[in-house]
């Protein structure tokens, strides 16, 4: 029982990371029906830029926690810019020419380029990321939880709530939702929908970069950290449904927990299998995802 609780607890924080990245996939899919397949690389770049920034700040005699907090806005802005670049170079042309697959290749290609750049700048080795919180695990009813794992869950939830509030409350957020609903009609409202799509890419990469610096302190950082996370989050986005915010959180948690259980009870070698099986199962039974509802549309 104790072990089960332990496995679930540590599965939750990993699952939240998957959820945040998958949430990023949703943001661009909603406005443009396209995805950034370099989302894992956006996460990796965010983490590495964060690493350089935090080390610089610590080098200037800041404490790790305050250095981490000052680093966050730097990483978020970097993520926004990186996402805008991806949209501008890789996606815009494909959307303009109504290309079915152009954006797939373009975002994958950009992802590979980003990875190569990162290997040259930061090297091939996995790097340690300073943890802003004590690394000693807390004992919660016999379950050992790292403070950073709690921070991941809180940070991920806060980010998603912030974006949700932006979408519902601000006129710009409503413009994003309107673009997702009906691009032509949004244009008639005076909304520059092309800009909205660029913005959704920026926001999507920003969430990935944020996930990168959240997860980096409990894993390691490096040019290769993104690929697996990006792919698993993609599975989560499909499992949860590309249109449901709740879906990706639940999907992320399911995958995070199931992975941990499989790793312990079966074999770490099979850790990735159940999630992918679940993906195949969802695709064959409910292709819109567990929580993906058909959009309400009356003509």
């Amino acid at each position: 029982m104790q072990i089960l609780a332990q496995l679930i607890a540590s599965g939750i924080s990993v699952g939240m990371i998957y959820g945040v990245i998958a949430f990023g996939y949703q943001l661009t899919f909603a406005t443009s029906k396209t995805l950034n397949f370099g989302q894992g690389e956006a996460l990796m770049l965010g983490a590495l830029v964060g690493l350089t920034t935090i080390n610089f700040l610590i080098g200037h005699a800041l404490g790790t926690l305050s250095a981490f907090l000052i680093m966050l806005p730097v990483v978020l802005v970097f993520g926004l810019l990186q996402g805008a670049v991806v949209e501008f170079l890789g996606v815009r042309q494909a959307i303009r020419t109504k290309s079915e697959a152009g954006w797939i290749m373009a975002t994958i290609a950009l992802g590979i380029i980003f990875k190569n750049v990162a290997e040259n700048v930061w090297g091939h080795d996995a790097l340690r990321f300073p943890s802003p919180l004590p690394e000693a695990a807390l004992n919660v009813g016999g379950v050992r939880i790292q403070p950073m794992e709690i921070a991941i869950v809180i940070g991920a939830v806060l980010l998603m709530i912030a974006i949700e509030i932006f979408n519902r409350r601000s006129i710009y957020g409503k413009a994003v939702v309107a673009t997702a609903n009906d691009r032509d009609a949004a244009g008639l409202m005076g909304i520059d929908t092309r800009l909205v799509i660029t913005f959704s890419y920026a926001l999507s990469s920003m969430t990935a970069a944020f996930a990168g610096v959240l997860v980096a302190p409990i894993t390691l950082t490096g040019a290769n950290m993104g690929a697996a996370l990006g792919l698993k989050a993609f599975a989560v986005a499909i499992i949860g449904g590309l249109s449901s915010g709740v879906g990706v959180v639940v999907g992320g948690l399911i995958l995070g927990i199931v992975e941990n259980l499989t790793g312990y009870y079966i074999s770490t070698g099979y850790k990735d299998v159940p999630g992918l099986l679940l993906l195949l199962l969802v695709l064959s039974i409910k292709p819109s995802g567990l929580f993906g509802a058909a959009t309400i549309k009356k003509v």
Partner: protein, 240 residues
């Protein structure tokens, strides 16, 4: 207000409009009538930038707007309530209305009092007030039509273009829609009304154009078109 000359437009390589010219003077209600497939909707789509015209001139208050993307045309004061209503289904009624005023929030149109205008829309369409928190996708067809019209009005437009506001509505609702159009006309809102319901449109309009196979075949004061034997036979026969 709006002056269109020799407008040629269509989809892909297929031209639907073969040189349409028309005038919408400030403060007037002009209607564009014609049978299915004549190019009425295409005309409005070209005017609001939803499709790029192949050639021709569209001048709004003297400025050329042909070829501009739709968001820039809207920001210049042209509101288009499109065919099929196109409300935002996952947003509540009130948000749909606020989005109609988007350029006013972002500073590309004079801001004015958006909250007061929202209330005015609810006075004009009381049903929308009852449903203000409801998602637009759950409204009935008639309610969606009212929402689409109210949303366009939220721009405080210099020119309001309505595409088939009566489409798919019950006779009672059609009457209601035309009563609303008449009320907007009293307020001197410049309007371009596209209608298949020619009799009702000519009843309320100042001036009319008849579109036939992508060309203007007849035009004149609405009262005269109502009595024109050719127009009567082609477009008013069944309705009267």
């Amino acid at each position: 207000m709006l002056k269109v000359e020799n407008l040629v437009a269509g989809y892909g390589k297929v031209a639907v409009l073969h040189g349409v010219s028309l005038d919408v003077p400030a403060g007037q209600l002009v209607t564009l009538i014609g049978s299915n497939g004549a190019g009425k909707t295409t005309t409005l789509r070209a005017l609001s930038g939803m499709i790029a015209p192949a050639s021709g001139s569209i001048r709004l208050g003297g400025e050329e707007i042909a070829g501009l993307p739709s968001h820039l045309i809207t920001r210049r004061g042209v509101a288009h309530s499109p065919e099929g209503r196109r409300v935002f289904p996952t947003l509540p009624v009130s948000d749909n209305l606020l989005l109609g005023a988007f350029p006013r929030f972002t500073g590309s149109r004079p801001k004015g009092d958006t909250a007061a205008d929202l209330e005015k829309m609810f006075d004009l369409f009381p049903r929308l007030r009852e449903r203000r928190a409801q998602l637009a996708g759950t409204l009935s067809g008639g309610e969606q039509q009212m929402l689409a019209m109210a949303r366009a009005l939220m721009l405080n437009p210099d020119l309001l273009m309505l595409d088939e506001p009566s489409m798919g509505l019950s006779p009672r609702l059609v009457e209601e829609v035309f009563a609303t159009i008449a009320r907007l006309k009293e307020r001197k809102i410049t309007m371009l009304l596209v209608e298949q319901f020619a009799a009702a449109a000519l009843q309320v309009a100042d001036f009319g154009y008849v579109l036939e196979n992508g060309r203007i075949s007849t035009s004149g004061p609405a009262a005269r078109l109502r009595d024109d034997p050719a127009v009567k036979a082609a477009y008013l026969g069944a309705a009267h």
